[in-house]
Symmetry: C2
Subunit: 115 residues, 2 copies
Protein backbone atom coordinates (compact mmCIF):
# COMPACT_ATOMS: atom_id res chain seq x y z
CA UNK A 1 0.00 0.00 0.00
CA UNK A 2 1.39 3.40 -0.93
CA UNK A 3 2.15 5.71 1.99
CA UNK A 4 0.71 8.95 0.66
CA UNK A 5 3.06 11.13 2.69
CA UNK A 6 5.73 10.22 0.15
CA UNK A 7 5.65 11.96 -3.23
CA UNK A 8 5.63 9.68 -6.26
CA UNK A 9 8.24 11.24 -8.50
CA UNK A 10 9.55 10.46 -11.98
CA UNK A 11 13.17 9.53 -12.61
CA UNK A 12 15.58 12.45 -12.13
CA UNK A 13 16.51 15.01 -13.19
CA UNK A 14 13.90 17.38 -11.74
CA UNK A 15 13.95 20.32 -9.34
CA UNK A 16 13.34 20.64 -5.61
CA UNK A 17 12.31 23.65 -3.56
CA UNK A 18 13.34 22.97 0.03
CA UNK A 19 11.42 25.25 2.40
CA UNK A 20 12.38 25.21 6.10
CA UNK A 21 10.43 27.37 8.48
CA UNK A 22 9.84 28.13 12.11
CA UNK A 23 6.34 29.10 13.16
CA UNK A 24 6.05 31.84 15.74
CA UNK A 25 4.91 30.81 19.17
CA UNK A 26 2.30 33.57 18.91
CA UNK A 27 1.32 32.79 15.32
CA UNK A 28 -1.96 34.35 14.25
CA UNK A 29 -4.88 32.22 13.11
CA UNK A 30 -5.53 31.09 9.58
CA UNK A 31 -2.30 29.17 9.16
CA UNK A 32 -3.76 25.68 8.76
CA UNK A 33 -6.34 26.88 6.23
CA UNK A 34 -3.71 28.73 4.24
CA UNK A 35 -1.37 25.72 4.26
CA UNK A 36 -4.14 23.45 2.97
CA UNK A 37 -5.06 25.99 0.30
CA UNK A 38 -1.43 26.28 -0.86
CA UNK A 39 -1.16 22.46 -1.06
CA UNK A 40 -4.25 22.37 -3.26
CA UNK A 41 -3.11 25.30 -5.38
CA UNK A 42 0.43 24.06 -6.00
CA UNK A 43 -0.96 20.70 -7.13
CA UNK A 44 -2.68 22.49 -10.03
CA UNK A 45 0.50 24.24 -11.21
CA UNK A 46 2.04 23.20 -14.53
CA UNK A 47 5.17 21.15 -13.90
CA UNK A 48 4.38 20.33 -10.27
CA UNK A 49 5.49 16.77 -9.51
CA UNK A 50 4.78 16.25 -5.82
CA UNK A 51 5.54 17.47 -2.30
CA UNK A 52 6.34 16.20 1.17
CA UNK A 53 6.08 18.01 4.48
CA UNK A 54 6.75 17.51 8.18
CA UNK A 55 6.45 19.94 11.10
CA UNK A 56 7.37 19.05 14.65
CA UNK A 57 5.94 20.02 18.01
CA UNK A 58 8.38 22.94 18.29
CA UNK A 59 7.00 24.55 15.16
CA UNK A 60 10.00 23.74 12.97
CA UNK A 61 9.04 22.31 9.61
CA UNK A 62 10.48 21.26 6.27
CA UNK A 63 8.47 21.11 3.06
CA UNK A 64 9.97 19.86 -0.18
CA UNK A 65 8.12 20.59 -3.41
CA UNK A 66 9.25 19.07 -6.69
CA UNK A 67 8.89 20.56 -10.15
CA UNK A 68 9.92 19.60 -13.65
CA UNK A 69 11.89 22.78 -14.31
CA UNK A 70 13.12 26.10 -13.01
CA UNK A 71 10.49 27.77 -15.20
CA UNK A 72 7.71 25.97 -13.31
CA UNK A 73 9.22 27.05 -9.99
CA UNK A 74 9.34 30.63 -11.21
CA UNK A 75 5.71 30.52 -12.34
CA UNK A 76 4.63 29.19 -8.93
CA UNK A 77 6.67 31.86 -7.18
CA UNK A 78 4.93 34.52 -9.24
CA UNK A 79 1.42 33.16 -8.69
CA UNK A 80 -0.51 36.08 -7.16
CA UNK A 81 -2.30 34.12 -4.44
CA UNK A 82 0.91 32.33 -3.48
CA UNK A 83 2.73 35.66 -3.27
CA UNK A 84 0.08 37.21 -1.04
CA UNK A 85 0.09 34.13 1.23
CA UNK A 86 3.88 34.37 1.55
CA UNK A 87 3.48 38.00 2.57
CA UNK A 88 0.92 36.96 5.19
CA UNK A 89 3.37 34.28 6.37
CA UNK A 90 6.01 36.92 7.05
CA UNK A 91 3.54 39.18 8.83
CA UNK A 92 1.68 36.65 10.92
CA UNK A 93 3.01 33.11 11.05
CA UNK A 94 6.76 32.70 10.71
CA UNK A 95 9.77 33.88 12.67
CA UNK A 96 12.24 32.62 10.07
CA UNK A 97 12.44 30.63 6.89
CA UNK A 98 15.00 29.41 4.39
CA UNK A 99 14.55 28.36 0.78
CA UNK A 100 17.02 26.29 -1.21
CA UNK A 101 16.38 25.50 -4.85
CA UNK A 102 18.16 22.40 -6.09
CA UNK A 103 18.41 20.11 -9.08
CA UNK A 104 17.78 16.50 -8.10
CA UNK A 105 20.36 14.34 -9.82
CA UNK A 106 19.59 10.91 -8.36
CA UNK A 107 17.02 9.32 -6.12
CA UNK A 108 16.34 5.98 -4.49
CA UNK A 109 14.13 4.57 -1.84
CA UNK A 110 13.26 1.60 0.29
CA UNK A 111 10.00 0.12 1.48
CA UNK A 112 9.41 -2.65 3.98
CA UNK A 113 8.52 -5.84 2.13
CA UNK A 114 5.74 -6.84 4.53
CA UNK A 115 4.30 -3.34 4.96
CA UNK B 1 19.57 35.51 17.87
CA UNK B 2 20.26 32.59 15.56
CA UNK B 3 17.60 29.86 15.56
CA UNK B 4 19.82 26.78 15.68
CA UNK B 5 17.30 24.58 13.92
CA UNK B 6 18.37 26.34 10.71
CA UNK B 7 21.66 25.30 9.12
CA UNK B 8 24.12 28.10 8.42
CA UNK B 9 25.25 27.38 4.90
CA UNK B 10 27.74 29.00 2.53
CA UNK B 11 26.68 30.50 -0.78
CA UNK B 12 25.61 27.89 -3.36
CA UNK B 13 26.53 25.74 -5.13
CA UNK B 14 26.63 22.81 -2.68
CA UNK B 15 24.84 19.48 -2.40
CA UNK B 16 21.77 18.34 -0.47
CA UNK B 17 20.75 14.87 0.64
CA UNK B 18 17.00 14.95 1.24
CA UNK B 19 15.95 12.01 3.42
CA UNK B 20 12.21 11.44 3.99
CA UNK B 21 11.15 8.60 6.23
CA UNK B 22 8.24 7.05 8.00
CA UNK B 23 8.87 5.43 11.37
CA UNK B 24 7.01 2.21 12.06
CA UNK B 25 4.26 2.35 14.61
CA UNK B 26 5.93 -0.60 16.32
CA UNK B 27 9.47 0.76 15.97
CA UNK B 28 11.99 -0.98 18.19
CA UNK B 29 13.95 0.92 20.84
CA UNK B 30 17.24 2.66 20.28
CA UNK B 31 16.04 5.04 17.59
CA UNK B 32 16.55 8.32 19.45
CA UNK B 33 20.05 7.32 20.57
CA UNK B 34 21.00 6.28 17.05
CA UNK B 35 19.61 9.51 15.57
CA UNK B 36 21.64 11.60 18.01
CA UNK B 37 24.76 9.55 17.32
CA UNK B 38 24.33 10.00 13.55
CA UNK B 39 23.90 13.77 13.99
CA UNK B 40 27.15 13.89 15.94
CA UNK B 41 28.98 11.64 13.50
CA UNK B 42 27.91 13.43 10.33
CA UNK B 43 29.06 16.72 11.81
CA UNK B 44 32.61 15.34 11.89
CA UNK B 45 32.61 14.30 8.23
CA UNK B 46 34.81 16.18 5.76
CA UNK B 47 32.69 18.43 3.59
CA UNK B 48 29.63 18.41 5.87
CA UNK B 49 28.02 21.87 5.88
CA UNK B 50 24.92 21.54 8.04
CA UNK B 51 21.60 19.75 8.48
CA UNK B 52 17.97 20.40 9.35
CA UNK B 53 15.34 17.94 10.50
CA UNK B 54 11.66 17.74 11.42
CA UNK B 55 9.48 14.77 12.31
CA UNK B 56 5.78 15.04 13.03
CA UNK B 57 3.47 13.22 15.41
CA UNK B 58 2.58 10.66 12.75
CA UNK B 59 6.20 9.54 12.44
CA UNK B 60 6.82 11.18 9.08
CA UNK B 61 10.06 13.11 8.94
CA UNK B 62 12.33 15.00 6.57
CA UNK B 63 16.04 15.52 7.17
CA UNK B 64 18.17 17.58 4.82
CA UNK B 65 21.94 17.27 5.08
CA UNK B 66 24.23 19.57 3.13
CA UNK B 67 27.70 18.76 1.81
CA UNK B 68 30.30 20.52 -0.28
CA UNK B 69 30.48 17.83 -2.96
CA UNK B 70 29.23 14.50 -4.22
CA UNK B 71 32.51 12.98 -3.03
CA UNK B 72 31.73 13.98 0.56
CA UNK B 73 28.25 12.46 0.27
CA UNK B 74 29.77 9.24 -1.03
CA UNK B 75 32.27 9.09 1.83
CA UNK B 76 29.48 9.56 4.38
CA UNK B 77 27.41 6.88 2.69
CA UNK B 78 30.34 4.49 2.93
CA UNK B 79 31.13 5.26 6.57
CA UNK B 80 30.92 1.86 8.31
CA UNK B 81 28.96 2.97 11.37
CA UNK B 82 26.53 4.93 9.21
CA UNK B 83 26.00 1.90 6.98
CA UNK B 84 25.30 -0.39 9.92
CA UNK B 85 22.86 2.13 11.39
CA UNK B 86 21.03 2.33 8.03
CA UNK B 87 20.75 -1.46 8.09
CA UNK B 88 19.32 -1.28 11.61
CA UNK B 89 16.89 1.39 10.39
CA UNK B 90 15.52 -0.96 7.74
CA UNK B 91 15.24 -3.84 10.20
CA UNK B 92 13.80 -2.05 13.18
CA UNK B 93 12.66 1.54 12.73
CA UNK B 94 11.36 2.49 9.31
CA UNK B 95 8.50 1.35 7.12
CA UNK B 96 9.65 3.43 4.15
CA UNK B 97 12.18 6.03 3.14
CA UNK B 98 13.21 8.04 0.11
CA UNK B 99 16.52 9.73 -0.66
CA UNK B 100 17.02 12.47 -3.22
CA UNK B 101 20.46 13.88 -3.90
CA UNK B 102 20.43 17.36 -5.36
CA UNK B 103 22.73 20.22 -6.27
CA UNK B 104 21.63 23.44 -4.60
CA UNK B 105 21.83 26.23 -7.15
CA UNK B 106 20.39 29.15 -5.20
CA UNK B 107 19.22 29.92 -1.69
CA UNK B 108 17.62 32.74 0.21
CA UNK B 109 15.93 33.30 3.50
CA UNK B 110 14.00 35.64 5.71
CA UNK B 111 14.09 36.40 9.40
CA UNK B 112 11.73 38.51 11.46
CA UNK B 113 13.31 41.86 12.20
CA UNK B 114 12.24 41.94 15.84
CA UNK B 115 12.88 38.25 16.58
Amino acid sequence: MHDDRFARLPEPPYYAVIFSSRRRGDAAGGYAEAATRMEELVATQPGFLGAESARDGEGFGITTAYFDSEASIKAWREHAEHASTRQRGREAWYSQYAVRVAKVERAYGWERADA
